[in-house]
Symmetry: D2
Subunit: 372 residues, 4 copies
């Protein structure tokens, strides 16, 4: 405590210097499970956030073979799920890819399936490779192709598998397990019958709720998450292209849309949201920063992002993360084609709690100086 940071030596900040009397006082306080606020105030009330996660890029060409190796090493019924998870070097103790978000790559072979379970954490999948994948959520079975995006919301029974006539599939699993654990709210249940049985037609959710601005007249949906559980890549890419024709887009993110709950217009799950953004040929966005964690997966094309002053080159299927309050900007290096980034994030959590803050980089024409 003897050292007060220069910027803290003002009225309104703690700037008490140690004395023998105070040290004796602090000892007495400690015996009563108490402490003097001014000894910790400046550190627990920082001027602005200092993220504990590192920006990291995981290259698909590195990840893919390691994930496939697991096919011969473990069976889904032993592993629970055959997943290699992305472990931020600064967040190992909470098994997070970034902040309180979990990301893993899962693989399954044709004919495999994993038992149904449910948990308080919310989950989503973004499909990367293979055919015949499916997810069943509360009895709604959805067929999944590359770049489709599917939800398994908080508290819903869900299971994944590959049809017998499919091929080996890989996908990203995104979850807020670390957040759920941090808030000490995680519950886990294995389905009593191991697998869900269902009489509902295949893909009934997108057939019912996946059309533009139309809703069943008699709909009785009353869950806090989206009744549309699967978002198709072809429709998403088409939407971005249509929107690109009539918008300049965001200076920081290009042509960016968010996946919504079509019943409410809100994010599709309570804690996590997801976006797809299109960077036009050669587009280089400006830098901004905001609270909340984002995990990106390259859906199309190649380019790079500058995150916290460091350049990360990416191509299709690579995954990278942007920690909170960290400057970031994106560049599509392809002169003749657009690039697309899928991302998921905890911005719904930040916004619901009043914690969202954002800042544009003013210096240097809005671009970071690349140092790493």
């Amino acid at each position: 405590m003897a050292d007060i940071a220069k910027e803290d030596d003002i009225l309104g900040r703690a700037r008490v210097r140690d004395t023998p009397e105070l040290e004796a006082y602090y000892e007495d306080l400690a015996k009563q499970e108490t402490g003097a606020l001014w000894t910790v105030a400046n550190s627990i009330e920082p001027w602005q956030p200092t993220p504990t996660s590192a920006p990291v890029l995981w290259r698909w060409e590195d990840l893919r073979p390691q994930v496939l190796r697991a096919i011969d090493l473990v069976r889904p019924e032993d592993a629970g799920r055959r997943v290699v998870y992305l472990r931020n070097p600064k967040r190992k103790e909470v098994s997070a890819a970034c902040g309180w978000l979990f990301s893993g790559i899962q693989t399954m072979k044709a004919g495999e399936r994993a038992g149904a379970h449910r948990h308080a954490a919310s989950a989503l999948r973004f499909i990367m490779e293979g055919t015949g994948a499916y997810t069943v959520v509360e009895g709604h079975k959805m067929s999944l192709g590359a770049k489709d995006f599917v939800l398994t919301p908080n508290g819903t029974w869900h299971e994944h598998g590959i049809e017998e006539d499919g091929s080996t599939c890989l996908w990203q699993d995104g979850l807020d397990i670390p957040l759920t654990n941090a808030l000490e709210a995680n519950f886990y249940e294995v389905h009593p019958d191991d697998y869900q049985t269902t009489n509902l037609p295949l893909d009934d959710s997108p057939a019912t709720y996946g059309s533009p601005a139309l809703m069943p007249e008699l709909d009785k949906w009353d869950q806090p998450y989206s009744p549309l559980l699967k978002f198709r890549w072809d429709q998403t890419y088409e939407a971005l292209q249509a929107y690109a024709r009539v918008t300049d887009g965001s200076p920081y993110d290009g042509v960016i849309m968010r996946y919504i709950n079509p019943k409410t217009g809100a994010d599709p799950m309570l804690t996590m949201g997801a976006n797809m953004q299109l960077l036009r040929a050669s587009e280089h966005t400006k830098a901004h920063r905001h609270t909340g964690n984002i995990i990106y997966q390259v859906a199309k094309g190649e380019g790079y992002s500058v995150i916290g002053g460091k350049r990360f080159d990416w191509k299709e299927k690579d995954i990278f993360c942007v920690p909170p309050w960290t400057w970031h900007e994106h560049c599509n290096t392809q002169g003749g084609d657009d690039a697309c980034l899928f991302s998921f994030h905890d911005l719904p959590t930040m916004r619901k709690l009043g914690f969202y803050a954002e800042q544009a980089l003013e210096d240097n024409g809005g671009h970071q100086v690349v140092t790493g």
Copy 2:
């Protein structure tokens, strides 16, 4: 007052019989701009609604030539709008097609346009014939083809026209002018420049908001009506077909969807909503009745509806109405094809005010006895 209806001769209803003393009393009350409630109570508090509108069907083959006749008789700039309106024989004094809803058939020739205006009434258009039609709402210009549905919400500047290279167009205009007048809330303004000028790209509204379950990330829309102003027929019909594959549909309406505000999931305008429904080949729905007024236009196919016990045969483009609390059921008489009914209604008004009520017909297997 001397005659009390049999069903009113119970505790809780007014059943006071006239006497000389009471008649003197009533005269005294009248002098003070007052009256005795029990002299009117049973009529102003009926057991259930008795609609003042008649069910009516307007045949397109009758309407079309009369509307086209107006082209040579009046110019849009003199008529304001070249519209033949549907006049319910029981609602002539309020110029309504049914209840408090207005419906008219408008026509314009290639190159014509009508000046921009705005009013407190909400309006919508359902296109019936022609090419090159457009509507401009608050600077958003939308191209319109057959069976497209477009909004011009309460208080928005709007104008209609036909491109020079288009053809003569006909469409239905639906408005709540009678309701707005009944509530003594109608205002009207002519645009100061006669026509809106706009730099926005054509069809920017559907390009931005017309994709399934996707929304611009940075959207700042804050109006009480839908930012999606145009709903395309091809997407609507495709949506109905997809939904039809996974639903039994409503017993009263077949496969029925409502047009929504994609930002909120609510009806696209404050007072009026709209639906499209698909009746499967040979489908004959059961009868129900509810409060609120509905005006139907046949979008596809042919069949009949039984309304208040009377059969109304319809084919494509015919218009008919269902008054409040009137039994109705629909039948697609085509054995090999589906039929589609567009409808607009004041159910959002009824629901917001707590006035929605509905009842299924129990007798006769759920079907009315046709008497008319």
Copy 3:
């Protein structure tokens, strides 16, 4: 149609002059239950609302003896309710006091009670005289004193009575019966047991929901109307006095508060709202006008209001109405005491439907020229 009003002779308004061809056309249209919009457009799309109701003041000294006369003329069990209703001279056909609002003065003697019923119309009571009055709403019994305000929302079983040890009571009943009828949504039911039985403690509703900014932790209320059904005069007057100490108030209404649903902050019923306002000693407000109908009852003091250019002097318990889009201003003529006006209105309906509009009078220092 031959005469076009001067202000309508512009682009955007109908200004078609009759010709023999057009007259023939109009006749043909009429045969098909249709008409030419331009023949009615300017009247159904007025520049601004022209109210059909007259401003009226009903003096308590006139009303009271007439209402009391009814005690000997009819019994509640025959009259349904022993009510003298206020009949606006321009709205006789719909039995309305103003616009689509009903107002009546009800009286009951000690020991009398009227049978329980329910209806789609919403109702409220403002107590004027007497002791021992009570209302039971859905089993919640409330004791009522002078100037208390009580709700009987849309669709709720309710009944009124006077305790055996009470005195003859008079109160104002406000309802939206005319609106409910206009929207053809009125239903009426007599309670199967004639009277409600209840085990709930007296005044459980205000005891549970009537405290400032506190709510039962475990509350399960899910109705569309306020769980607080009774609003006490002493608390209301105290609230106005507290608020008056820290606000300048509204230039048009003085110190004005609205009764709310404490669960939501919204109006306590779906269609009607209510206010209490305090005019400081000698306060004379400025004039404004807005859509929607208001019925006032003087809760305290005396003064006058200028409505549509006509002066209406009032004192305690007098009732008067302000029709839509009619200039109005209020004056407390007492130099040494505040005056209070209770009012109920259909502004919730107007606002939900997007029909609320308001305008301040700019001329003459914001005051009307009194002509009547």
Copy 4:
């Protein structure tokens, strides 16, 4: 990983046993900032939450003298705030009293004031002793007496002080600083003028918004937190007594009410809520447990709570905490008087994120076996 817990040896849980091949695999994964999910799955997806905080009771008779000692040791202008904080022995690293909640006891002498600041964390104060305390929030100054409760929401300028003619005051400060830090969203600003200047009348917030079910007609409040910033003890206690007359109360909490935002009926701040509960003479509630953290302060009377099987005796002003998913029950040991517990908590956070879960203790008549 070699040891699989017995309950985890089922389909749906990870039960992979180590092999040399797997160990080699794990090493390779670690080099790529990845890991195998099944090595951590059972620990990051527990069957149910295991709280990291200990239940603790801080006795006022111990706290008070230590806090007062600080008066002579530090000045507010050096300490920022003269606060002794409660440090849960299991949450020292985040300076939390329980979970992600901070609690501290602050003291100030007559005439002292602390500079204005704002932060992303939300804060509240519950006054324990002294006269003349005040808080200023965004220019709204509030006078505070014993057991009054006051908000300083997320992002608002606020400052505290004691009037010159007041006495030494003590109060509890509750904040969600640890949560804000965990979500890496904390910002801190010192007011540019050190202190707020204001022309608003004293206590304008409670005078405007603190009356039962009444709201200013013309209110323009649009903040995400309650416009009512101060909740008076006398009104709160009166409300509990009124409610107690008509309710059995909660089996777990007695007669319990929550402080609300009177504009919306929701919790008064985005992340934290607060309650006051009354335990009737000799009332002993049943045990339940739920997610979320609660910090209690005894507002009146004495008794004990059993938390996680351990008994904690309390009397007025003592503070204690209940960690997540920990059984707890309360007992008022006074035979002749009620006891009141103030509490604040993060349940709004838990509920917004879908993390609220609750369970009643079924065994032993609903009571814990006291072990500590």
